[in-house]
Subunit: 232 residues, 2 copies
């Protein structure tokens, strides 16, 4: 990982601020293009002084490194959420919950994902590697989850790799083609419908019992805790 | 549509040249960013003189308009291909052929699609409308195709809209995340696998007979003509 300049000592705070800076920076880039932004403009958008921002970013180039390095952090965050919520649940509940968490995360970092996909080919090999590795960890997570469902007899899948890819595709499409999809779907409806046709694809459940399973999942106040030990 | 300057009279030739200019321009933009390119650089990449390019593009802004206007042309091209090849075929053959044509087209115009998705939110309302309408025509085509398959009893689909969206998503993902997918798939294999799991989702065919159907489709020398009146 490249080192991004920082003078601050409180690690938790630095991490939160970086998250915030990445979001605001990628939103600014989405509006104006990377070449047209500068650090003082970013500071204004963040409600910080240029001096304040200087604790996190020393130059314009650092913005790019901050965004690239953030891919690993975000992936770790997502995978931690998965593993925290998904101990001892059935594969069906695990896939519903994982798809929901993943889509909500992508939605939360839309501009970030669009920017990365857009600049990917113009990055150095080392920078690409950071992004590629972060992506691979997510794809592998879904591959393993699908395979374990097949082993337990809940899923029927010929090729788990392409199904895992398509889960990622559906999520990235929400970021990438939000301008189109948002005319027809709210995020929640999009997630529900995508989960429904995914379950139709990988299980033998009837459309009715898929509907019931999803409705039950969403009717829980605290989605995960209640369902942790329950059969789908 | 905005008018892009042209002094040339041969319509067919102008159309071919524009197609070529759009491809080279979007490839150049993918590498350097829109803000960093200029018309003389584009002329060099096209192997034309700046004066020659001036027949098609009067200013840098015209590059953007050319690309935006090209969305309608490309959609019309694709829809014409669909309708030329797909008279009197069964819904299953029609969906295989359409997904293949659509994915091959997106592959052929990867940089173009990435650029449009990337700049979409920073365009004027009128420019967005042009792109939105072109996209809608493709989504509607797939919706109608899926619905007609449901009516004929070949497909079983709860919600044709989301299935149509996902076909588009899978194609755009090939453009957008090609940097990832190409490590695992060739275009042809990606198309075959996506068709296989789509058919698994929307038909009652067994995995074996899906495999056979796709193999038969691909074994034809001239894919469409031979299959035009044949049952899948």
């Amino acid at each position: 990982m490249r080192k991004v300049r920082t003078f601050s000592n409180d690690k938790e705070l630095v991490s939160q601020r970086r998250d915030h800076i990445v979001k605001v920076a990628t939103s600014l880039i989405a509006k104006k293009g990377y070449n047209r932004i500068n650090t003082s403009e970013l500071a204004t958008a963040l409600g910080m002084s240029t001096g304040g921002l200087y604790h996190y970013i020393g130059s314009k180039e650092d913005i790019l490194y901050l965004i690239i390095n953030f891919t690993s952090d975000l992936t770790s965050q997502v995978l931690e959420k998965f593993s925290a919520y998904l101990k001892d649940v059935t594969p069906i509940v695990a896939i519903i919950e994982s798809v929901r968490i993943y889509l909500e995360t992508i939605d939360n970092y839309r501009d970030f994902h669009n920017f990365l996909n857009h600049v990917m080919l113009s990055l150095s090999i080392n920078d690409r590697k950071i992004i590629y590795q972060a992506e691979s960890r997510v794809v592998e997570y879904f591959e393993n989850l699908l395979s374990s469902g097949v082993e337990k007899g809940e899923f029927e899948i010929q090729d788990v790799k392409i199904v895992a890819h398509n889960i990622i595709a559906i999520a990235h499409t929400w970021a990438n083609r939000g301008w189109y999809l948002k005319r027809y779907y709210t995020l929640e409806r999009y997630i529900k419908e995508e989960i429904a046709i995914l379950l139709q694809q990988i299980t033998k459940l009837s459309p009715k019992s898929i509907e019931k399973t999803i409705a039950r999942y969403y009717s829980q106040d605290s989605k995960t805790s209640e369902l942790l030990l329950e059969d789908a």
